[in-house]
Symmetry: C2
Subunit: 474 residues, 2 copies
Amino acid sequence: MSEMTRTPIGETAQAVGQTVKISGWVQTKRDHGKITFIDLRDRTGVIQCVGYKKMGELTTESVVELVGLVKQRPEKMVNADSPLGTVEFDVQEYTILNPAKELPIQVDEDGRDINEESRLRYRYLDLRRERMRKIVKLRSDYFHAMREALYEREFTEVETPMLTKSTKEGARDFVVPSRLQPGKFYALPQSPQQYKQLLMTAGVERYFQFARCIRDEDLRADRGFEFTQLDLEMSFVKREDVMKTVEDVVKQSVKAVGGKLKDETFPVFDYKDAMAKFGADKFDLRTEEEKAAGVLSFAWVINFPFFKKVDTSDAAEVMDGKSGWTFTHNPFSSPIPEHEEWLLKGERVGEILTTQYDLVCNGYEAGGGSIRAHRPELLRATFKVMGYSDAEIQDGVGHMLEAFEVGTPPHGGIALGLDRHVMMLANEDSLREVIAFPMTSSGKTAVMDAPSTVSDEQLKELHLQIVLPKVAKK
Amino acid sequence: MSEMTRTPIGETAQAVGQTVKISGWVQTKRDHGKITFIDLRDRTGVIQCVGYKKMGELTTESVVELVGLVKQRPEKMVNADSPLGTVEFDVQEYTILNPAKELPIQVDEDGRDINEESRLRYRYLDLRRERMRKIVKLRSDYFHAMREALYEREFTEVETPMLTKSTKEGARDFVVPSRLQPGKFYALPQSPQQYKQLLMTAGVERYFQFARCIRDEDLRADRGFEFTQLDLEMSFVKREDVMKTVEDVVKQSVKAVGGKLKDETFPVFDYKDAMAKFGADKFDLRTEEEKAAGVLSFAWVINFPFFKKVDTSDAAEVMDGKSGWTFTHNPFSSPIPEHEEWLLKGERVGEILTTQYDLVCNGYEAGGGSIRAHRPELLRATFKVMGYSDAEIQDGVGHMLEAFEVGTPPHGGIALGLDRHVMMLANEDSLREVIAFPMTSSGKTAVMDAPSTVSDEQLKELHLQIVLPKVAKK
């Protein structure tokens, strides 16, 4: 590499008449024999470069370093469609920093016609396409804006464990065998629900985390094993306080990245009104015109039933709802104050409303939260309604009940599904488009060959033996 | 709860003469019969409250809401040691929001005399002590400052997968059985090393992540299974460029949280000079005076040997170094340019120096990174030196070699051990003091009962059977 300082391509327009060094990827090449034109791309821009004979050897997507003169283009040669269309780069020297062989997938189009497996196997190429580069940047910018909005409101960021205990979140856990404690397993967090509540017991008062959550659910286009949620929790609040704070943070962050909102104040629907009006608790309020304009339409839904009859075809629900009742959203929620007595007495179970608030956007669920039970008798009553014995309650949430007896403030919070937020901001329709290295729909990790086999030695250390099904399924 | 808006205790001094609502924890109580004094604490401050007879019922650490009058104290009653020592709160009404039973551990001291198991089991109480509250806040503030420093330098935040492939990082992986692919396992990331390099192939150019890393290492006071690293990577850089950027980010962030630096420019030591001078590659440059002043003494160490003779007592080294040679720091590093030929020819292996740079602070390793091999022949040569066959290289890092043939820029980066940074900033000497919910030294998760057993049903779904050792160890 030349010892000159590298000039970002986006800044070359300010360097007309100067000899500078630029480096990046050969986006296109037009070899006219004596003259070779290339468009060179870095993360800041693309510039047309004019070189001579030998440069014909450059292959597209190779990484090169060019030293040369930045020239103003004659007026009739200006390309008004390009941000750097007023200048061109007269190559004096070039160095190939990394040559590109023929690419297994092309990166100059939007990539939607390439099959998923190839796109994910070569994700490091797939991410080079303009559409994907913008999404990666948008995601970073949106997270940045959210953090700023939270810091301004005096939230404290706290990390919670990745190796933890199975919790009652309603989905299947991924488990991690312990080498030091034979036959025992950690669970990966489905969400930091209990830890964030314990941080309220600790007195943090305003907590947030961009939490990595992992659930062993059956995969579908719109759901992977991993997701990122903005997890937050506040003390000494009522339902409306959390909703107000979250609404303000979301609005501020959406605007910061140039997103457009349909409503400056998010409309609030009662669950029963939403069901009557839309036939669903997720709905899209946009007109066709608003859809075309790329507007985000947020709304709140409140006053959900706390419990529902167990769906006997769902194994997890059957397990959680021994009594025939299971929770609709979150067993750690508090009912609305008017219904606390019913819960405590186990009466009118089907009529009890939870403090749950769901944030919906463009027909999707964009987040959900609630005011939590912070009195032990309320949490105990919830599990009783579902048919848990005292011993089972103690085993499952005994540590929470203990925490609720040593000064736990009233508290509530929310979890926002950020992959989905970015998906909507980017106007995409699959979560895989907004995750840098997502899994394939069969659960294979992008680029890497995972899951894969482990050695007998490793299995032995973990005190495990594999029992393959008689007829192995793929 | 009263419908009045809550006033943060830290703002009561601006509310003299007003009737306000405050809420928080009863830090101390002095019951003088007719009059009861309590100190009420929230996250913003502590205020002395004066109440009457019945308030004697309040127990310490209960959560209460008080409505009352903020009064200026008479001059002779001012407590100059307390930020709110000029005011007191005349209680008119109080509501117990959550009563505290007798506490299993006390929270009014620094907690160092309480055994670790109790502190971690009741971590939600342990975190209430002033020392711990300050650390939680300091950690959040330091991370905030680092992010700001990175955003200013146009870094993009990207998340990489938690369920991934076993990588060659030199420690033992935690593995996660796949339900959908019988007999196969994901690995939890020891670091995002390969993904961050692939992001350079993708053209991100400046990447960072506050990465959650997980390694199944034998536990010791100074090391847990989980840690958080600031992971960053840059394209088109030389060793000195990365060191300069990292040094600037660290200095800016340390100062932002009030930390004191011994050196405005971090001294740089050659590995061999450091060994000759200090007998170690981690060293403490502070005088006793500087230690007492809580100064942070950062320094760089460079020009490490790339390879070392395998320590035959270390199973991982034996596995990686089939030839008798293994890497000292990172097999993905590039040697210094002058030694590339030796590596490519497999000559003078013991003399090859790596581009590795270690950041040390106060005698600890505070981070480490390198310029990476971005040409396939260099990475291949590194594994050849260690005795890997072509097939093993293809199986282990074939995807990296492929990426290096489609336009990967020169790149390098670093990983900073942030738990340790916060430990030093807080002047603590155990990592457990700076992690909200750390594991015990026996690998048990704080508060929760993990690891724990899983059901036979779950094991069956995962195609696993437990094989307990003949003599079960605890």
